[in-house]
Symmetry: C2
Subunit: 270 residues, 2 copies
DNA sequence: GTCCACCCTCCCCCCGGGGGAGGGTCCAGC
DNA sequence: GCTGGACCCTCCCCCGGGGGGAGGGTGGAC
């Protein structure tokens, strides 16, 4: 493919359907360098060879691939690596799609008139030592991290003495990063890989149970929060979830049951 | 639901999983006003009644509903109107999804090694008077506009003398808005509703044919562009598409054939 | 009375562009 | 050779939906 003629930025723009402005930005970002730049006038020149490259960029941007990542994709001339990077992004899009669907479901439920009164129990929980995996995670990764950690726990704790659970720091929700811990109770916790014995402190918990998928678990959180405040309590410490019935127990999401426990303490009544 | 206690912004933040920062922003945006604000200290106070509202906002934001639209949704207390607004946004998400899928398909094709050499014909087209619908449209609306205009054309032109086509101004691709015109050739063009007789000027066209869905029509555009430049021609005027075989002819997308014609003129060879 | 967590406002940063100002350059027609 | 207009350049500000952090005021538990 010989470049019979060099193109001005305007011509190149018309041929690629990328705006002149955007082409200049891509140049500045080191993403699509013009074939040459006149030192005196600063005029950019493009070659026809660059049309397919520009189209790849166009497509990747349509998929909301960040410019920086487009750059790395283009810099890689190994087609396998390139395909992998693209596939990674496609996976991200898939999970984004799943998130969107979950939000839609939950929104529908939220807009329905509020039916069920919340059923909350105040429960004193003693300190207990469990087998746990803990880490600082970001909110986006927490699901994947949870799956891995729970698999490791299952391998390390052949005979659990109760349903698994998790503790989630508030910062995880507030700032997208925070401490998370998943555990299985067992009589003989030991250290295996990432699994360590951890003693969960005694707390007083306001406990309610969420039934069904986790898509709209925030609704249950909200009801629990209202109850806590109405009963002149305040929240202190990470939330505790206990997975009474989950995907490991039954494939039917409507049968899942998750206990949510919020550590509370009594507020002086004014 | 009585508000037993007022909450500080921090407490409200923990109960709703919205960051303090975000709550302040929502206040500034007139989206989620605190129950009261202390005139002296500026401290915001929230009521437990606002927890469900905050959750609705949270969900809508997860769906990327702009703050301004969230505000209108909340201001409307008619549940039907509210449901309609939400449904509108869901439709937008759906089309976004379709766009993403199309981009994925096209990207896959683009990353494959370039197989087919392009088959371009240079063709002198005489001026012709057709029945046409024209408008300034935005790129996002062009598909919907096209469908409506073509339906109106079909009604107004019972006996067309050839396949339908369209002319698309370059600004439409460059800046998201521009002039578009769809037409059906006929022996007796008349004015009916939005349909008017229009004389398309004589041009010299570089013509190639795109086969299949329009998802990756830009690839064909790119090949055509390369050919045009390689043959020392330049582009002048709106692109012309002719829908030889389309959805109206067969439901099988792989059989669709779209002729793309780019008005060109010869460039002086240096 | 002191400490510390909490709250306030204000300003700058991120991304991927668009809009526009203000000025230089190229080329066709006269 | 001159002029007009299309084209090109850089630079700065704008958008939305927040995050990070500075600098300072408040409230309540000890």
């Amino acid at each position: 493919m010989d470049d019979g003629r060099v193109l001005t930025i305007g011509e190149f723009s018309r041929l690629t359907h990328l705006s002149v402005r955007t082409l200049r930005r891509y140049h500045d970002a080191g993403l699509l360098e013009p074939a040459s730049v006149d030192d005196v006038t600063g005029y950019r020149s493009y070659s026809t060879d660059q049309i397919p490259v520009a189209q790849v960029v166009h497509r990747l941007r349509e998929l909301d691939v960040p410019l920086a990542e487009v750059r790395t994709i283009l810099r890689t001339d190994d087609p396998d690596t390139r395909a992998r990077l693209v596939a990674d992004h496609l996976r991200r899009l898939e999970s984004e799609l799943a998130r969107t669907r979950a939000a839609v479901v939950s929104l529908r439920r939220l807009l329905e008139p509020d039916p069920a009164p919340v059923d909350v129990e105040l429960r004193a929980v003693p300190a207990v030592t469990v087998a746990a995996v803990a880490a600082d995670v970001s909110h986006d990764d927490v699901l994947a991290w949870y799956a891995g950690a729970m698999a490791e726990l299952d391998a390390a704790v052949p005979v659990p003495s109760g349903p698994p659970g998790g503790l989630y720091d508030d910062a995880l929700f507030q700032h997208g990063r925070g401490h998370a811990l998943v555990y299985r109770p067992t009589d003989r916790p030991a250290t295996v890989g990432r699994v360590h014995p951890v003693t969960l402190p005694a707390v007083e918990l306001a406990v309610t149970t969420h039934t069904g998928e986790h898509d709209d678990i925030d609704v249950t959180y909200g009801r629990l929060g209202s109850w806590v405040v109405a009963n002149t309590l305040a929240v202190a410490g990470p939330v505790r979830e206990t997975y009474l019935v989950g995907p490991r127990d039954t494939p039917d999401p409507s049968a899942w049951r998750t206990e949510i426990g919020w550590p509370v303490f009594r507020v002086a009544v004014p």
